[in-house]
Amino acid sequence: MHMLTIDNLHARVEGKEILKGLSLTVKPGEVHAIMGPNGAGKSTLANVLSGRDGYEVTEGSVHFDGRDLLTLEPEERAAVGMFLAFQYPVEIPGVNNTYFLRAALNAQRKYRGEEELDSMRFLKLVREKLKVMQISDDLLHRAVNEGFSGGEKKRNEIFQMAVLEPKLAILDETDSGLDIDALKQVAEGVNALRSPQRSFLIVTHYQRLLDYIEPDFVHVLAGGRIVESGDKSLALKLEEQGYAWLADTHPELRKADLAGAPA
């Protein structure tokens, strides 16, 4: 059974078509990396899947765990097991990190008809996850992402993922803006959460994150579609050769679609 099935997805942003017939299937436990040049539609894909406003799906379908994902509100998508690690996590002054996480977890549990956790049981859960993520509990007492460094914000995303235990985690350019130590910490966190039931969709511009999180599949997103799929060796080829060679096998791609080669 597939966890995620994206079929011929077309989506527009501000009237401009960005996704043009994207198809992809993800099975439980698999790690898929989606790479591609700037403007290929990588972040659009992450945003459409998580239900952000301003993205209009004009054609195609997305099924997640047997449900028609596109009919669900963002909070419902979270409750049925989807998690988006943001490229730019939002700072929310005045909302305590622990309070926020407990509200989120309990809202999800309520939606699923599960019992809500009282503060004792919640704190116990949080302490366990902190240990795994190697995060100091000082972070818990602060407002959500407020004044966090770039690395702390991304680690906080992974920590939230650990607490919320989604079925599918989408990492949207999680590596951007991280130095190598922060990148390793984030990757370790993700690896600790890998399981046969949990899938990952890693959206990235660079290959370097994949040195630490080994993907089962690598896809190239260009011109709004998946144009090439392979194993991790595809990522290495992209790292060495850039994207221009794709024009040979995909004459429909314009030069502009393949600009912005990885550094």
């Binding site: 952000r52 509100e73 909070e75 998508r77 939002v90 929310i92 926020f100 989120a104 809202a107």
Partner: protein, 441 residues
Amino acid sequence: MTPVPSPFVRAALDAAATVPSSGIAWLDAARRENLASLAEAGLPESRNESWKYTPLRALSQRAFSLADAGVANGIAVDSAAYALPGVDGARAVFVDGAFRADLSSLDAGTGVSLAPLGVALATQPEPVRFALANRYRRGAADAFAHMNAALALDGLVLRIADDTVVAKPVHLVHVSSGAQADTAWHVRVLIDVGQGARVEVVEHFVSLGEATQLGTVVSDVVVREGATLGLAVLQDASAGTTLVRRGHVRVEAKGTATVHALELGGTLVRHELTGELVGDGARFDSRGVFALGARQHVDTQLEVRHNARDTTSDALWRGIADGRSRGVFRGAIVVAQGADGSDAALSNKNLLLSAQAEIDTKPELEIYADEVKAAHGATIGQLDERSLFYLRSRGIPLAQARSLLTLAFCRAALESLPNEALREHLGELLVAHLPSGPSAP
């Protein structure tokens, strides 16, 4: 020339005619003088800059008779109506402006004198005399101040002796009973915090029924050298209540006054708060939140006057307007010549939760001294879409996400209230008051 009085002023003049003599000649004279001033001034008009955003045309057509003290004394009031967590000290309760000895407990310990105005006049008239007879001279005040001076038959005098630390907060309760429709009540408050003394006062406005009353409260507060006053104001009146409150807080050398205000109720509310720093090293901090909905109109006029050296003020106010409500905020900082070393900050941020709501905010800065630090800013905005989406992406439903962000927006203004139990209660009241769902179109 005295203009033709509006129904509002006419009713006040008629009401005054029914008031018996106080038996104190100077007091009767002061009341007469204020009544004449009221007739002369009439209600402020919109061309008056200070009332520009709070039109009184509708109010000027309403006629309020004077609430009857005899009736007020007979109204049954359940203490649950005004019980507050963390506020368990002495208490003075006024119902429709009449002091209710049976609901009050005036013993606040050694060094504290808490008395209704009548008792204070009988025992210690001189300090009261100055406030009542000289405070609002002709032309120096507006209609509401004159009205209060002419018609406030009751009030409260709180005196804290030098170096007295009052252990428990003093609770001052104004109840609009709802039993006397279209009546007005007026209360005069005098607070004097002696040198080096410390006290926490909670001023509380509640309604019993759907009151359609007008209430005015004029307070004069003195914080003497090295004294500390914490004043928390909770205004939770019913939707039909009109309230005009004027508070003047004078802070002497090295004294500190801190005001926290939460405005939730009322249909038309005007809150004028002036902090005057008259001694070197004095401090006046103010924090406030108004959360409005429906057709409420709440107008806050804050003025901080730095008249001495090395004085400090910090004002942090938040406003939320939903429905067709209107919030008005004017925050003025005036640093007088010679008040060098003053440090003044003012921040007013507002959230509009519906397209029909309106907020007018106006920070003002007047500086006549040389070495001064002053910062002020005002903003009006909406809930941040990115923050809303972030919360929803974690599973928090839209309505809860909105409420969480709105509360967070206000939190900065309430979090510094030292009384923890009261602070939490105010937070809960605010949450209960916030719109829980998407705002109506």
